[in-house]
Subunit: 130 residues, 2 copies
């Protein structure tokens, strides 16, 4: 969704409904995502002519790794607390999985949404009409 909004052309005013249609996702789901992204400060809804959904500076140039961390929250790969496991206080597997999860996010850290829509991806995104 952020990638499609990132390539909005002058004069377009993307709406949640338009983006949902372009990406083939239910409107209700898109609306929840928009609200979440607004709360995270990476998306805003501008009023008036040429308004509509737009990425903030943080949304366009911020780290994708940080964004994914924020979206995933403090969740772990395996939910050791949900169904409490008696090993959890001393579990080496849990520690290793935590490190692996960090490695996943760290690998995404250098990327920005702006990077993702450069090259051939941008024109293809534009073909998904709002």
């Amino acid at each position: 969704m952020m990638m499609r909004i990132a390539v909005v052309e002058d004069g377009q005013s993307p709406t949640t409904r338009g983006v949902a249609t372009a990406l083939g996702i239910p409107y209700s789901h898109a609306a929840k995502v928009v609200t979440r992204l607004q709360h995270l400060g990476v998306l805003e809804a501008r009023r008036g002519r040429g308004g509509g959904l737009a990425l903030t500076e943080a949304g366009r140039h911020g780290s994708v790794g940080q964004l994914v961390r924020a979206l995933e929250g403090a969740g772990e790969v395996v939910g050791c607390e949900g169904e409490p496991c008696s090993l959890r206080s001393v579990c080496r597997l849990r520690t290793a999985l935590g490190a692996a999860q960090d490695a996943f996010y760290t690998s995404l850290d250098p990327h920005t949404i702006d990077d993702f829509v450069s090259g051939p991806t941008g024109p293809l995104l534009l073909s998904l009409s709002l």
Copy 2:
């Protein structure tokens, strides 16, 4: 499951049912996991006295990263093909997620099941009676 089986003591003959009970998972699920792990060559069912489920050498000392890769198959973090996405051929996000997934597995590569059951984890595993 492999961690519990790794610390089996002399004279114990762990069964799928016993391990399922110890770990609080349904027998039918445990049986599927046992079959899967046998196919991967990391678990075997030995016959006779002192038999039962046991890790193979590869199971005990092989790389956990390789094992998780094998269990997860060629699946991607986001299923770009399942609901085919028109960006998939040129998607930089997909490439970045693939690299992040690799980083996750690579982080687990140096670990073995044997490492995970050393230290204080081992005795706690033994307290989960078979």
